[in-house]
């Protein structure tokens, strides 16, 4: 069984790094470059979890998260800018379950994902 992860991220390289990392571990990755598309993708594919960039063009990550009851039921990990004052609090206030602060290394992301992807032991085994 492969899990489905939605990556909402406007920066193409960041999106690709996450995609390459996750697909290499046999996850299904759905991508969206902005909040509106992300909302639509979440509604259509019911991913678990969602990785959401906070600074997005147009509708930002908070707005997208707050707006939708379906989204609120899915674990959301916010990807926040490095050390910006109160970003973590803002992410929590917006209903995000956790956050990763940029810059992140794929390894540190991986550790965080595992908390949400467990208990699928096979998944952990796939990495390295």
């Amino acid at each position: 069984m492969s899990k489905r992860i939605l990556v909402v991220e406007d920066q193409e390289d960041n999106r690709r790094i996450l995609r390459d990392l996750l697909t290499s571990a046999n996850f299904e990755v759905i991508e969206a470059a902005d909040g509106e598309t992300g909302l639509a993708a979440a509604a259509a594919h019911r991913p678990d979890p969602i990785l959401m960039d906070i600074q997005l063009p147009g509708l930002d990550g908070y707005e997208a998260t707050r707006r939708d009851a379906v989204l609120r039921a899915i674990p959301i990990i916010a990807v926040t800018s490095y050390g910006l004052a109160g970003d973590a609090d803002k992410a929590h206030a917006a209903g995000c379950d956790d956050y990763i602060s940029k810059p992140y290394s794929p390894d540190s992301c991986w550790r965080k994902f595992r908390e949400y992807l467990c208990p699928a032991d096979e998944v952990i085994g796939m990495r390295r």
Binding site: Q11, D13, N14, I17, D20, L21, S24, S81, Y82, G83, L84, A85, G86, A88, D89, K102, P103, Y104, S105, P106, D107, R128
Partner: protein, 520 residues
């Protein structure tokens, strides 16, 4: 009345002795023609009123029939005259005392007014308040009814009305419309051109179109004192009186003092305004600089993230197996990229601190975890340099409250420096708690730091020696960031060192830290 021997009073005054005329009709010298309303006297006695030998009056007694006075009567009259002298003297002294009292109270009033003015100049930078105090006191003490202070505008070369006293709106409006220039009107213009006080005792003798509003308002005399700066005209103080006449020198002197105080006030206000403006400009420039640095480092970090991210994925063999040679190069690439990221983060941190955007996120943390996290991060570096590396954490440390992530950053910086600068020997971390505060020490057996450099190393962009930057790397920002973070926790950071004997960096933070002032 000139004293002459023809009258009793005249003769007494001339002789300054008692004059007894037994019969005026029998006295050949007596020529006094009595006024019609005066009773005729035949026998007369004149007694001089003398104060210390100086004649101050004459007492005269007369009798309508010839009736010479005996010596007792004359003596009695002399006694009365003495009493009269004393009475007159008393009145004179009394008047003199009164006059002196008036003069003194005038001086006291002037002094008090000067005191008020000086206080106003020193206690408020609000120019309007100072100038209105000055103009009011100037009018009150110069015996005038109205006054104005003008300031001279260098750009328009005109005198602008700044403060008035005792003037109705019509006169103020009329004066505002006038263009008063140096050398222009016969009042302010002339006084300013001569750089000296000037008075017009009677405006009716000085017909001038420019002054006709003042005349129409009922004023007759003007006193103008220019306000003189060191090199330029600053303005003018004018008082106006409804009664014509010269102004005494004492009034002119007084107003000159007031003028000096006005100059001081105007210059103070001007300087204050300039300083305020400069301060605002500086703050603005500094904000822009911090904002620029924040933006720039953010922009630099985005592509660097991608470089580091892909590198890591390649090293993780996500894109297939790498030949060993290429892997070694990729590891160098990764190490350098991380170093660059560290530098960019330092710049971002500092610019955030300066812009007041860096805030602590306070939470419970374990100091022991902080220390061990740092140890595991830098252990490989110490091992690479073959240094002894130890951490001594007091057992059972209380749980801390503060920004654990930022404290890790500080400790990482101190330990990183210690390893960087120490070539042989050891680096040790010691953590303890006393009196509600954690103390963390980082000791090394490195080259040590001279006393003069110890003072500088916590400042921005300062390393003990600029050649170190080239040799050892680093931005010179780490310690200044560490200092700010520790201070934001309400703690202190310092160094104890001697060249050749290693260094120990210490910091203390309250076990339970609260957000410090200056944090948003």
């Amino acid at each position: 009345m000139e004293p002459a021997r023809g009258s009793l009073v005249g003769r007494t005054a001339l002789e300054k002795t008692i004059v007894h005329i037994t019969d005026t009709q029998a006295d050949p010298e007596f020529t006094f023609e009595r006024p019609a309303n005066m009773l005729p006297s035949r026998t007369m006695l004149g007694v001089p009123l003398l104060r210390e030998g100086t004649l101050i009056g004459v007492m005269s007694l007369g009798h309508p029939v010839v009736k010479p006075l005996d010596s007792k009567q004359i003596e009695l009259a002399a006694t009365f005259a003495d009493q009269a002298v004393i009475a007159i003297e008393n009145v004179r002294l009394f008047n003199e005392v009164q006059a002196r009292t008036r003069e003194l109270s005038q001086s006291v009033e002037e002094l008090r007014a000067l005191g008020d003015v000086t206080q106003a100049v020193n206690s408020t930078l609000d120019l309007e308040t100072v100038l209105s105090t000055i103009v009011a006191k100037a009018v009150q003490l110069s015996g005038t009814e109205a006054g104005t202070i003008y300031t001279f505008d260098e750009t328009t070369q005109k005198f602008e009305l700044r403060s008035t006293y005792g003037m109705d709106d019509a006169l103020i409006a009329a004066i505002r419309k006038r263009h008063i220039r140096i050398g222009g009107d016969p009042g302010i213009g002339q006084a300013a051109a001569k750089r000296a006080p000037m008075q017009i005792p009677d405006l009716r003798n000085e017909p001038s179109e420019l002054l006709e509003d003042v005349v129409r308002a009922g004023f007759r005399a003007l006193l103008i004192v220019p306000l003189l700066g060191p090199n330029q005209i600053v303005g003018a103080l004018v008082v106006r009186r409804k009664k014509p006449g010269e102004f005494p020198k004492s009034t002119i002197d007084l107003l000159e003092t007031f003028a000096d105080q006005s100059v001081l006030a105007i210059q103070n206000a001007r300087l204050f305004r300039e300083i305020e403006e400069k301060g605002r400009e500086l703050a603005e420039a500094s904000k822009h600089k911090s904002q620029f640095l924040a933006n720039m480092s953010h922009e630099l970090r985005t592509p660097l993230n991608a470089i580091l991210g892909y590198t890591e994925l390649i090293l993780d063999s996500i894109y297939g197996e790498m030949p060993e040679k290429a892997r070694a190069v990729l590891e160098r690439l990764q190490a350098n990229g991380k170093h660059l990221l560290g530098l960019i983060n330092d710049v971002l941190d500092l610019s955030k601190i300066e812009a007041g955007q860096l805030t602590l996120s306070l939470d419970d943390y374990s100091l022991s975890d902080v220390v061990h996290g740092v140890v595991s991060a830098v252990e490989p570096l110490a091992a690479e340099k073959r240094l002894v590396f130890k951490a001594e954490v007091e057992p059972n440390l209380p749980s801390g409250h503060g920004d654990g992530r930022r404290l890790s950053q500080v400790l990482l910086n101190l330990v990183g420096n210690a390893i960087k600068f120490t070539d042989t020997g050891e680096v040790a971390i010691r953590a303890s708690a006393t009196n509600g505060a954690f103390t963390v020490a980082v000791c090394d057996t490195g080259p040590g730091i001279s006393a003069s450099d110890q003072a500088k190393i916590f400042e921005e962009f300062q390393q003990a020696d600029s050649s170190i930057t080239r040799e050892k790397g680093g931005t010179g920002l780490g310690l200044s960031i560490a200092k700010r973070i520790i201070e934001m926790h309400g703690g202190r950071i310092w160094v104890e060192s001697e060249p050749g004997k290693g260094s120990t960096f210490y910091f203390t933070v309250p076990v339970r830290a609260e957000a410090q002032a200056g944090q948003s």
